[in-house]
Amino acid sequence: MPFPNVRLANRPLHFIYICDCSGSMAAQGKIQALNQAIRQSLPGMAEVARQNPEARVLVRAVSFADRAAWHLQQPTEVQQLQWLDLQAGGITAMGEALELVAAALQSPPMEERALPPVLVLISDGQPTDDFDAGLAALMRQPWAQKAVRLAIAMGHDADTEVLQQFIGSDPGGGLPAGEIPGASGRKPLHRSGRSPRRPLQASNATSLAQYIQWASTAVVGAASMPASRMAGSGPQANIPLPDLPPTLMDLTDDVGPLVW
């Protein structure tokens, strides 16, 4: 006879991509690389969701250019998700995008009980609207304060200062806010000083894909079901973040050419 048809009660885990679709993203295949990276990450994300019986992973996406709009408005179970391509063109209404996310994190529509949301902001430029007002609106929401907020800087023109403000201060200290290793224009080393509490520098399609993969699997895992804990791990935020993807050396040319 089968085991009774019951299962562990789960909580929703809202995962929201906030994607820069300004005109500069059309250059050098950046928007295509982002679409590819997100699409490629979905099977791994679905697998992590399945391994975490405590969580129901729901994905949404906001795009921002001249205006901000929901690209994927309905919270969608990752197993059912089909990614529609983002299109680039316009300026950078990042502040408005944060206001949209703020409205979504209000209760209601937010559930009374949930896991910490995961917000991933991806940008290659500078906000052209009132970023501070958008961030302030977002951070008034208790669910935004509890959220794991990550930022990915695409290329070296991204405004790492505003991305750091979105993440909040880095409790680990280290480099001053806004300064990221490898942002000087040289090939980034990603060796020391990298931290998930700082903007992640994606200098090419490969590293972008790695970071998207990391955010949608390792971070979703950490936010939904705790992982092994080691002694002496430093100051913990409300969700201890997993290690960043390792820096793998390019031995051959099998990682593809640099895209931008």
Binding site: M1, P2, F3, P4, N5, V6, R7, L8, A9, R11, R50, Q51, N52, P53, E112, R113, A114, L115, P116, P142, W143, K146, R191, T206, Q210, Q213, A218, M225, P226, A227, S228, R229, M230, A231, G232, Q236, A237, N238, I239, P240, P242, D243, P246, T247, L248, M249, D250, L251, V255
Partner: protein, 444 residues
């Protein structure tokens, strides 16, 4: 995924005598990556660590070496077989700045799935198999602890099940350490960690293993968490500080017999309320022992041997409800048991009387050597006989001889039969079975 070791490459590694061929990457996490490899014609799994993992855990290599020398406590462990480091020829092929090391183990055989598949309700599995898996888990920890070792970080993530049999495999044995020596960095996984470890009052060892083992058995048996009741419902955002309160600062078992303030919610925690009454009282008592008195007093927690005895006894009294067919576990002493599933009365079953214990005659129940000899340790993997339904004559139960010796059957007609190895005999006319280990008697 980008693999640390190039797929297809042949690597010369120190620690093994033949070159190792990387066949394919199997998976990766924050610790490292696992590959399917071939060494001297044998397919094995190779785990390779990331530099950050090695840096965090300076004694990892030493522990692995000692585990390899100690050899596996039982077949349930996917135990490290050999430690390997890159030879000069392999160094340039690794995609890491620091070469590090890895270890070889057996591949996980097909048919085994992550225990989270069961807890998440994705798996077709029966109560018999879940109880057997729980027994095997307790048995594996029994063997580990008897070797003076401890596991430190058991959770759903490193347990695999074979749904058809209830067999288990325990992976990620790289935190195993000599109990009390504390040559390691891992603390455990929140939700499975004993409160004294989560709160930093003690370091993980065999006593905290007993807490984690009870959590894991509870999650297998109920598909729910032992500490998540009403107190969870007042938590809006289940983050790290909230988990610390729930599992560390103020933990309260949802079925605490004295303090009912953390009972499961009938809607949110239905799984716990439906499954808890299925199990016999001795199993419930062991959970209470571990999660009530043993919550703050590690030496009071239920021991691996107690779990094995209670789980094996539950399997002995497994009975199928005549009305709904569900598996039930009424104790012989229960005066008028009801089916937990449909509520129908369960009539007293036929019970096989063995030199040590009674086994209910229900299809799937097995007779084991420990039923005949009290001095033998409890184990379920070498059954001597199994109760089976007749393939075509519905309702007819038989007992199949799984041993390699012939038995003598005495029927109520006075007739005597020889029951050869592999043969089954109808239980209805059977009075007694004489086996070399002892007699099986049926009530007249």
């Amino acid at each position: 995924m980008t693999w640390i070791l190039p797929e297809g490459a042949s690597l010369d590694l120190e620690g093994i005598s033949s070159p190792l061929q990387v066949l394919r990457g199997l998976g990766g996490g924050s610790q490292g990556q696992v590959f399917e490899v071939e060494v001297a014609g044998e397919r094995l799994a190779l785990k390779w660590y990331l530099p950050a993992c090695i840096a965090r855990d300076p004694h990892l290599k030493r522990r692995l070496g000692e585990s390899i020398r100690a050899t596996a406590p039982s077949e349930a462990f996917l135990w490290p077989l050999a430690l390997v480091t890159p030879g000069p020829g392999a160094l340039p092929l690794l995609r890491l700045g620091e070469p590090g090391f890895g270890y070889l183990m057996e591949l996980r055989p097909p048919g085994f799935v992550g225990a989270h598949e069961h807890v998440g309700g994705h798996l077709a599995i029966g109560l018999l198999q879940v109880l057997r898996a729980s027994f095997s888990l307790a048995e594996a920890f029994h063997a580990l602890h008897l070797k003076g070792l401890c596991y430190k970080d058991i959770s759903l993530g490193n347990l695999f099940l074979e749904p058809s049999s209830g067999r288990i495999l325990i992976c990620d044995n790289d935190n195993v350490d000599v109990d009390g020596r504390d040559l390691g960095s891992v603390l455990g996984t929140p939700g499975f960690m004993a409160p004294e470890i989560l709160m930093g009052r003690a370091r993980p060892g065999a006593n905290s293993d007993l807490f984690s083992l009870a959590v894991l058995i509870f999650r297998l048996l109920t598909r729910h968490d032992p500490l998540r009741g009403r107190r969870e419902l007042v938590i809006r955002c289940l983050d790290e500080p909230a988990r610390r309160r729930l599992y560390g600062e103020d933990p309260l078992f949802i079925f605490d017999p004295v303090d009912a303030s953390n009972r499961p919610d009938p809607i949110e925690h239905a799984a716990a309320l439906i499954t808890w009454p299925i199990y016999p009282e001795p199993i419930q008592r062991l959970f209470e022992q571990t999660f009530c008195a043993g919550m703050q007093e590690p030496q009071l927690r239920a021991l691996t041997g107690q779990w094995m005895a209670a789980l094996a006894a539950a399997l002995d009294q497994r009975q199928l409800c005549g009305s709904c067919g569900q598996e039930t576990f009424p104790a012989p002493s229960e005066p008028a048991p009801l089916c937990w599933s449909c509520g129908c009365p369960l009539p007293p079953p036929t019970r096989l009387r063995l030199p040590h214990g009674l086994v209910t005659a229900a299809a799937g129940n097995e007779l084991h050597p420990h039923h005949f000899d009290r001095l033998l340790s409890l184990r379920l993997d070498q059954p001597l006989a199994r109760v089976e339904a007749h393939p075509s004559a519905g309702g007819l139960l038989g007992l199949r001889n799984l041993s390699d010796q012939a038995w003598r059957a005495e029927l109520n007609t006075g007739q005597q039969l020889v029951l050869g190895p592999g043969q089954a005999c109808n239980l209805a006319p059977l009075v007694r079975l004489i086996t070399p280990s002892g007699a099986v008697e049926l009530p007249c």
